[in-house]
Assembly symmetry: C2
Amino acid sequence: MPRQIIFGDIDGYEEGHLFQGRREMMPSRFHRYWGRGIDSDKELGAAAVVLSGGYKDEDDDDVIIYTGAGGRDSKGKQIKDQEWNHNDNKGLMISCDRGIPVRVIIGHKHKSPLSPSSGYVYAGLYYVESYWDELVSFGDHEFVMCKFKLVFSGNNPTRILKREAILDHGIRDKKRRQGTVVRVVRDTSLARTVKELYNYECQVCGTMIKTKGGYYAEGAHIRPLGKPHNGDDSLRNLLCLCPNHHVMFDKGVFTVNDDFQILGDIEENTLTVKEAHKIDLSNFEYHRKIHGYD
Amino acid sequence: MPRQIIFGDIDGYEEGHLFQGRREMMPSRFHRYWGRGIDSDKELGAAAVVLSGGYKDEDDDDVIIYTGAGGRDSKGKQIKDQEWNHNDNKGLMISCDRGIPVRVIIGHKHKSPLSPSSGYVYAGLYYVESYWDELVSFGDHEFVMCKFKLVFSGNNPTRILKREAILDHGIRDKKRRQGTVVRVVRDTSLARTVKELYNYECQVCGTMIKTKGGYYAEGAHIRPLGKPHNGDDSLRNLLCLCPNHHVMFDKGVFTVNDDFQILGDIEENTLTVKEAHKIDLSNFEYHRKIHGYD
């Protein structure tokens, strides 16, 4: 029975860390398995993947198209479709839905600008942007593969520069330069905690979005993070909302008073709050104030 | 009557372009007004703002806390609250809700690392991340001000490096490094077209999110943009959806067949499609395929 999975960075292993071999990754739980590409838990998500040249995963440094697991015989020959129910594919889907960061490890057999000449290099944290089915040819057979798009989200400034330069290059045409970002939904382990507490049901309308990978909800900060509001990233400042009510709450379409009654022009009257969820009411006060309710 | 507002970059004016004075910005419609901070249209959104030291707007280069317009007497003294209904504040709210990029122009009187020694510099495109009320003291009076958070979204690589370095510095504590991005909603002028076509009503459920600034909906690409899917950014590949159905569509919780019947485990049966909206059906075919419906 393997020890519990660890998500995110692990102390002592910075981006660029070199491993001589796969076994070296196991004691720290950097990647718990010697023979598998994906370190995954079917309930919690995937924490790490290795690119070792087994499938022809595409990789332009910051965007990786990764192939899931399954469907091979003992010699590594593809003999059937991959399945979304497979422990490893399921884990990567959960990581996508919940915004769990995935450690990407690149081996010398994988072709990429980042590949080491021997051993394995830690390429940093990526997020799973999306997943989909793809029909892939193997000789005269075609099988459905589980595909994942992984996008670099680590902290290495030189790589970030390179990434932005690529983006920059890509958006030189007029049409795309007119576009911009409307919404960025970030997530943290605390947001996952509040979502688990409410079983992914929106505290306003009870909606639960069921996906192939599990459930989707968003952690909404009551008092916004970052300047100038400087809200806490703590459970006392978080709600579990569906995307629609998250947008409406952030824009002040509704707010909440101290006994959890909803103020504003929406159908619902009361915010569902569980006993165990101790909200700091001064955060609601702040939210009411910045949206002109007090 | 001023000529029509222009959004986004304007040919011939790169980031860093220096203007000797405000009148120079008017013929090209870079900023149409000599005496106003905000170049805005109450229906369409704001296209440009000038920081000229009038209000003490905060600015750390890539995040600007901008104060709206109104409430001053003819000598520039604040004598009453600002109002969200004011043409200029309304325009910036719309830019926030619709993801319209705003040109930021920094004058020599504004205190910022980017301020020129004389004249005005074009600091690039920013998006309006959020807006809120703030009570601000003016001597012994307090007035409500309309505040906006503007975030740099331009293309200048050296500034991007600096910005990422700041971010990097900010997220050194463990808790935040575990977090990641779940969802990025980008928008384009085409997405705005499809939203206008449907009056911001979701093509699946009819939901229309009404905000202080107007309406909020999302433009959803049927065949995803970017590699490996390489969908078109065209009306033939776009839907107008509420955030909930956008998430569900992108994750394949439902799909659509060639006569606009909905397939999948949701309540609604039919996608609303207007006569004028010519969808390329091969995009639905692609969507069905990658989500395992065909």
